[in-house]
Each structure stands twice: as structure tokens, then as C-alpha cells.
Subunit: 150 residues, 2 copies
Amino acid sequence: MTTCDPAAPPAGPGRQELIDALVQASFAAMAALNRVGAEHDLSLTQVRVLAILRDRRVKLSELADYLGLDKSTISGLVDRAEKRGLLQRAPNPADRRAVDVFLTAEGIELAGRGAMEIAHSLSPMLGKLTNAEARRLTVLLKRSLDGGTP
Amino acid sequence: MTTCDPAAPPAGPGRQELIDALVQASFAAMAALNRVGAEHDLSLTQVRVLAILRDRRVKLSELADYLGLDKSTISGLVDRAEKRGLLQRAPNPADRRAVDVFLTAEGIELAGRGAMEIAHSLSPMLGKLTNAEARRLTVLLKRSLDGGTP
DNA sequence: TATTGTTATACTCTATAACTATA
DNA sequence: TATAGTTATAGAGTATAACAATA
């Protein structure tokens, strides 16, 4: 049996320093994504929707799972993006209850342009790293992600 | 003169991979912060407000600068937090136009508890790293932050 | 004139609850 | 019965514009 004191600090020295750095870096990255999105009248959530649909055609329920949001929230999100012509609904061929969503040509174009702008927006943050440092950071972030989001 | 093609990818090999890893890690960290906040009926923005005020007493205009939000947004944010008893307004002694905000005892208590819960919430994500890896990641993230948020 | 804050307004994001249709 | 999606409703977050008080 595992007794878990909810107030216990995470094990290891300097762990709090890592957490602070990660949180700060994450807010900086979110701010960059937000800024790029805002230039195209897109919220952070809409940016995520476009990023997800760039590779996939999914059911609304799957989109809700990816984003961790309620299905009713997804309905509104998809409504507004569809009204803007960025994506489309279509009946799911295998399940008549389900509705698929996928990007329109305009949505694909915007998602592609946005991805490049995001890379550009983050480059001042990452541009100071040498190539070797960038590779090490990539490895460490990926290793962290393996353990995350339970 | 610097001609800057806005569509040009950032220099260096594997840079896109780093950007993807950073964005994914950031969304995971934001999800953890969001989850902890939601357990206390706090939005991500309210979590940030508490974190900022934990160390400082600031004017509303400074809070707006820290958060990158409009002053009218700050008014509402502070209204709701004040109504919950987490912080207080007080006139700024040096400038009669300005209003200071600072945490109440209850706000300090919640901010402290929240910080520990956030550390706990992120530990599954960071717990797989060895102490040496954690130190390297901290250094790399801090070095990135030096160049970021222009 | 410029800055600080508040208020009114409008829109997006979000969840809960109630509903229909399908599995 | 359980799942997929929509709608109605309510509240929080956000920006813009207009305003009062102070610098």
C-alpha cells in the first residue's frame, strides 16, 4: 500500500527549480501561440483544433477527448469555425449517431501558415541554443512527455 | 539590412522537432495547472494572479502588464477574486489614481497549498528524469527563457 | 494631455442539464 | 441502457469604447 502525503514535495534536489522553469517556459510558449492565433482571430483552443485536424478526420467525441473539453463546448467551437469556413461537418459512415469534422482548403492553408508563424514566433526563445543544446532539450522534453498526462 | 522572409523555417536541423516537443510539453503543463486550479474553482488566469501576488503588492496596471491583459479585464478578474476573499484592493499611497492589490490571509494560504499541489501534479511528468537530467533540463529551459518573450 | 481604473457592451469559452437519435 | 450530438442556460474571460479622477 502506498501512503501518499499530498503536501510532500516531489523527490530530489532542485526539483522545484525545474518546475518553475517548466511553468515559465510553458507560459512563454502559450503566449507566443496566443499571439499568433490572435493575429488570425483564433483563440488558443481554435489553434489546437486546427493543429489536431491538420493530420486527421475525427468524430466530435474524439475531438472532445483530445482537447479534454465537454462535448457541448466542442459543438460551439466547431460551429464557429465552420461558420468561418475553416472546417466542415459530415456524417460518419460507420455510426449514424456520429459526426466527423475535417479542415476545408481554407482551413488547411491557415493551419499550414500558422504552423510556420508559430515556429517563427518561438525562434527568439529557442534561437539562442546551439544545435547540440537543442537536440538535448528535445530529448529531455520528449522523455518528460512519456511520463506525463496520466 | 535584414530581409526576413516570414515563411522561412527557423535555422538549424531538428528545430521543428524541438518546437513540437516544447508545445506539447507546454500543453501538458498547462493541463496540469488547469486541473489543480479547477479543483479550487480557479481558472488558469486566477492561478497566475495568485502566483504573481504571492511575492508582491502591485498596482492593477502592473498586474495587467504581467499578464498581458487589458486593464478592463483585470478589473473583472480582481472583482471576482476579491469577492471570494482571496485578495484586497487598497489605494496606492504614492499615486491617487492607482489601486494596489495584495493577497489576504486566505489567498496566501491557497497560493501556498496550490503551489505544492502543482509540484505534485507535474511530478509524474518530471519524475522519470534522473537528477542529472533534471539539472540539464532546468539549465536549458532557463537559457531559452533568456531569449524569449520579446 | 496622458495615465489609472471603472463601467457598459459584446463575444468567445466552458460546463451542466435536458433532449433526440442511434447503438 | 449507453453513447453521440445539439440546444438552452449561466457564468467566466476577454477586448473595445466611453467615462471620471488624477498626474
